[in-house]
Symmetry: C2
Subunit: 353 residues, 2 copies
């Protein structure tokens, strides 16, 4: 295996080593029952408690009461781009969206098929390098939709606007990374494959009383209320992804919950941004006040050093540092499971350039 | 672990032991790269070949040429119930469906939201215990939809009608179990969690030239053509489920392909049905000529023997034998990976009752 790997992948990404260990064991023998996790019925007495606890732990970690329901669905955030308008465009058929990057703009594109979508703020004019802040959302909108963190550009909403309607947020790339008052949101969704598990499931946290208010005929799989009624088992759930997500969240809970994770994440981000700001070889991409704690986008000030730098970080066992093709440069993703030691290795390489 | 388990689960279900072993290893260290399968990018040089081969092996096993494309999507067959009419209702907005059980009838319910659906045959009148055969489908329909095997009731289509339109088939519970001329179908879909892998992905095999013929505005995730263009990576695919499906299909290919699997499956089914027919303690549920080779539904002729029989098969290490709640009795699922030795254990228990 050679050098220890330092995995800065943008997602799917590093998860706690303990999660890999337990997930690997469950595939051979789940809880000592003599069967693999993969070969048991999702309605068996062995799996139902997994789904129940995977739903319950989310409410505990987010400090949400029973007015919220938790679902593990399939199709990723991309299917949520469709389900949100389908379920939540009700009275006026109008929704307000904040355009802060590629995924936000994909969400807008999908919603436009079903209603009148107003983009109340956009940073497309400056390559999504900042978060628009000067906008308001009145009650003529059925809901407001935003994206809390932008993996590709490395920006992050540090606060969320007060709006006069439902608040919906795609938290795919920073969920469980920082404390928020989650009860200020009406619907939160997140593809699991960053802080909360492997690829293959999308978390939905929804305030129950916002549902059932549309006259639209909702296809079964797209209907949140139906999934709630069926306790997230309307059809066969993605058993392995749900189990590995549960393991990841249990690891988080055991290690101080979101508060402790936030502290560790802030320390990692500070270490790296300080080096970017100090070292004349590098510059950051995002506006300082909007910098993401999860995804650090940066580039070389002198492109001729690229070959040398690339060799150096690869030799140090660093993986997944190339920037997204639409931004170029580098992107270091500092998700919950990445140890600060890996960030130190990267910083040392940057210093040595 | 005690007695060796004989796993007759209806799905998720038994897979080859080698698949569990390799999948378990990949979660600790994928292909010796020093990283878990769960923590690498789906666009990395390590995962892209997995998706490519998982798509290619399906065409080899099914003997299909390049006029077909293979996709691994999410949302199960239930999301296909929506995607099929969304993509294939084109000219007349009419489709013909065969109603052979719970899943077929769910597919009908979803399709009715989008078009004029005619149920050309149904066995609902006799609790889905047979396959309707007396119907025809003319060219006024955009497509014909059927369900090849019915997990709950234990019936199976032994032949498929010639129709004057596109032929679409939900093969979730018997795909890769028997040789068929797959080129007679225009679209085949199958939730992976029976013969081809763990829960978490749905296979779609589609003839390319049937797409792009609707004026309907298709949401991104529901658009087959878009998934094809993106080589089944429009968004993050269910990485683990795709990999474990590939392992399962590689195991099938190595062990004689579908032809050899069919032979093994027929032998298992014969062993069990012969016992049901011979042993006065039992009777089958499905009409003989329509009996499924995959799911054998049967019941006790004398219900007072239930407690004794249940204890006997549990003591023998048998798992997953209870019938679906809508049928009752027993259901033995004989998917590809179930060894004939397990069927013999069940038959021995039946003989001993």
């Amino acid at each position: 295996m050679g050098t220890k790997k330092h995995n800065f992948s943008a997602g799917p990404c590093i998860l706690p080593q303990e999660v890999f260990q337990k997930a690997s064991e469950a595939i051979l023998d789940f809880n000592g029952i003599g069967l693999s996790l993969l070969e048991i019925s999702h309605r068996s007495k062995d799996f139902v408690p997994v789904m129940d606890e995977a739903r319950a732990i989310v409410k505990r970690l987010m400090n949400l009461d029973d007015s919220y329901e938790v679902l593990y669905l399939q199709g990723g955030a991309s299917l949520q781009f469709i389900m949100v308008p389908f379920n939540l465009l009700t009275k006026t058929g109008k929704a307000a969206y904040l355009d802060t990057g590629t995924w936000a703009s994909n969400a807008i594109k999908e919603a436009k098929r079903w209603g009148n979508i107003d983009v109340v703020g956009s940073s497309a004019d400056e390559k999504y390098s900042y978060i628009p802040k000067d906008y308001s959302v009145d009650s003529s909108y059925d809901y407001f939709h935003c994206t809390s963190n932008n993996t590709i550009y490395g920006t992050q909403m540090k606060s969320f606007p007060e709006v006069d309607t439902l608040k919906v947020c795609d938290m795919s790339s920073d969920i469980f990374s920082r404390q928020l008052d989650f009860s200020k949101f009406d619907l939160i969704y997140a593809g699991a494959q960053k802080n909360m598990g492997p690829a293959g499931t999308v978390l939905v946290v929804v305030k129950k009383d916002i549902l059932g208010k549309t006259n639209r005929d909702i296809p079964a799989y797209l209907d949140y209320a139906l999934h709630i009624k069926k306790e997230s088992m309307f059809n066969t759930p993605p058993v392995f992804a749900v189990y590995a997500s549960l393991l990841t969240l249990q690891h988080l809970e055991k290690n101080g919950g979101i508060a402790a994770a936030e502290e560790r994440n802030n320390a990692k981000a500070k270490l790296l941004y300080d080096e970017i700001d100090y070292n004349p070889n590098f510059e950051g991409f995002a506006k300082k006040e909007d910098r993401s704690v999860m995804n650090v986008s940066f580039r070389l000030t002198d492109k001729s050093k690229k070959e040398k730098f690339d060799q150096m970080w690869k030799d140090a066992g660093i993986n997944g540092l190339n920037g997204h093709r639409s931004v170029g440069g580098y992107r270091a993703s500092l998700y919950n499971a990445l140890p600060i030691e890996s960030v130190q290795v990267l910083v040392d390489v940057m210093k040595a350039l």
